[in-house]
Amino acid sequence: MTRSIYMDYQATTPCDKRVLEEMLPYFCDHFGNPHSISHAMGAQAKEAVEKARSQVSDLIGAADPKEIIFTSGATESNNLAIQGVAHFYKEKGNRIITSEIEHKCVLEAFQAMEREGFDVIRIPVLKNGIIDLQILEEAVNERTILVSVMTVNNEIGTIQPIDEISEICRKKSALFHTDAAQAVGKIKVDASKVDLMSISGHKIYGPKGVGALYVRLKPRVRLSPIFFGGGQERGMRSGTLPTPLCVGLGRACEIARQEMDSENVRLVELKSYFLKKIFDSLEKVYLNGDTEHGIPGCINLSFDGIEGESIMLGMPEVCVSSGSACTSDSLEPSYVLKAISVREDLAHSSLRIGFGRFTTFEEVEYASSKMIEVVNRLRSMSPLWQ
């Protein structure tokens, strides 16, 4: 088998070596506790953490680095934002709103809040994966304390109209949280439009196990903490900060900010080449999601007549993922594809192909050729393909 070709950048990304280099001194040499600032070792770690905080802050356009709270990742950030706001503002209102295509950790957090008695509204999306703004506007009322809508979807890559959602929320003084794990570092995000924003380290070539939550200072957004302890991170997230991981997230954000524009030009070219080749060679392949409002690195395709996992099996050296039930432990296909009204058999026929920083033209060329070969072979074996 040839070397693996990694095309699953929405699942995770490799840690950039420049990021790792920046992190290494903080494991064994500069190991001080960043909260023990009365001695030199602690102060040194504190300085590194604060530099990282600024780097994250710069990437998302926060007004003040203090608005960045380090967490263990986007799952924790999302939980902290949703549970934290719901619990803190429960006297103000009972309604919390999200969309149907959020990441599982957001949907599950909302479900937990629903069990506690909150009035949860889930807004549908249009066929292109964009939230139905009209339904959202009707749902947001004076009792609404939180709206949580992701910036970029992890399966189909569609970008939500953050400015419009922000406007709807502000009219009714509802707080607006966005899970930007798939967006930060890939497209420009603007913290001034939201009240809370979740960020992940390992989706942007940083280390796994670290993320951040942007929490607006002016006007100040309050949260009930999930963890109790030493009161670190302005009392919102207790626990000693993992200095090397924070440093890694910071450097990853810095690199993303510097290279985003040129990288996106490259990814758009790779995506166009890939899609042209697939569509020129195969009939009845459908693009799931929105062609215009999508990030360049995420391609979700359905191959009529064959099932997704069987395609993956035919090209094990090409690492992609599928929305088919057969790749999960449940028997249900992707709820995101269902929400955008993809026919059920086509949901089973879907593949998500993700390009990123280390994807080369040669890899795209190889993967597309291999995919065409496997699809043709499986179609010749399919009772649904005549």
Binding site: E307, A325, C326, H348, S382, P383
Partner: protein
């Protein structure tokens, strides 16, 4: 999904892929499963004068386990009489292929395909 060598062999080099003429009265055909559920097996048998299955063909829409289950069962029923073929159970298929529990339904579908193809042949030749 981590599959056994038996599954991979049949996924990569399946025997008996194809179709038989459904208008032939010696041919029994079944289509089981549903596209919306992610797997469909079309299975056909030709029964010779001695009452044995002389040919078996399949086409499958589904995951690796579904393809391997249908390929394996066509190998197994070849040369058997109808009662023997009906005697092959999904557990035998699942066990031989070492299917994980979440894929057990693929072997159930293969067994169902055989019994419906036999029934179709018998219905065609009744009276």
């Amino acid at each position: 999904m981590e599959y056994s060598k038996e599954v991979m062999d049949r996924y990569n080099n399946p025997k008996n892929v194809g179709s038989l003429d459904d208008n032939d009265k010696n041919v029994g055909t079944s289509i089981v499963g549903a596209p919306s559920c992610g797997d469909v097996i079309k299975l056909q048998i030709r029964v010779d004068e001695g009452g044995k299955i002389s040919e078996a063909r399949f086409k499958t829409f589904g995951c690796g386990a579904a393809i391997a289950s249908s390929a394996l069962i066509t190998e197994w029923i070849h040369g058997k009489d109808l009662d023997e073929a009906r005697g092959i159970k999904n557990q035998d298929v699942a066990e031989y292929l070492s299917l994980p529990p979440v894929k057990a339904h693929c072997s159930v579908l293969a067994e169902e395909a055989v019994s419906k193809a036999i029934k179709n042949y018998q219905d065609k030749n009744r009276g």
